[in-house]
Assembly symmetry: C2
DNA sequence: TCATTTCGTAAGTCATAGCTTACTAATAAA
DNA sequence: TTTATTAGTAAGCTATGACTTACGAAATGA
């Protein structure tokens, strides 16, 4: 649930591509495993990492499990970079001012 | 310079903490290495990864090298999550509408 | 009840990421 | 022109992360 886990979860290319597949809405494990160059169990393991990181959530539907994006978790990452951007820009502006002085 | 490299660069905790130290402005390698639980050469290696990823830039100042945040690279990451967030929210809204129908 | 489908878990393999120490290079300063 | 600072590079070690196959569990349908 920490930044730590979220960054780590998104660092693996195949895991991130699984995550990105969920942009359009919920998908089952089988569908997520299609087109991904790894085995279905590997996708399950990736989903566990994403879930533990708070980036996806799961709901059961018969024998299927439907995974979808955890919007709160995604929002954390968005906010992290928004704040970082603002702070870096402020620091840059200050550096210009002090240079003028 | 790709997303690939940026995500990978930010996945390592100590590397990210080095990156975050630069929020306030440019710093030398020696200063960046203070308080970080790894050796100075390790910090140099982290800086190389961050630089290759387009997240930091470097300028020489005598015998020092001052590293600072590459705002264009950081902006890419911010935009990635901004777009992702918007798309995920749209998909969610659509899912609510189709459920009503 | 038995077979199918869908999926998570266990166990083991292999590459590599992150670290270390030793060194080399470049600038500054005496 | 030596001596100190500062920092990047080389080489090697070690833990671990991303995969595989084999198996077990839960829901569905015959």
């Amino acid at each position: 649930m920490t930044y730590e886990m979220k960054f780590d979860a998104l660092s693996c290319p195949t895991r991130r591509s699984v995550f990105e597949k969920l942009r359009g809405g919920a998908l089952s494990v089988g569908v997520l495993a299609e087109g991904v160059p790894v085995s279905r169990p590997a996708v399950s393991q990736h989903l566990k990492v994403l879930k533990d990181a708070g980036l996806v959530s799961e709901r059961r539907d018969g024998v299927r499990r439907l995974y979808s994006i955890d919007r709160a978790g995604l929002e954390e990452m968005r906010d992290y970079f928004d704040r970082f951007w603002d702070e870096a820009l402020d620091a840059y502006k200050r550096s210009l001012e002090t240079r003028d002085a």
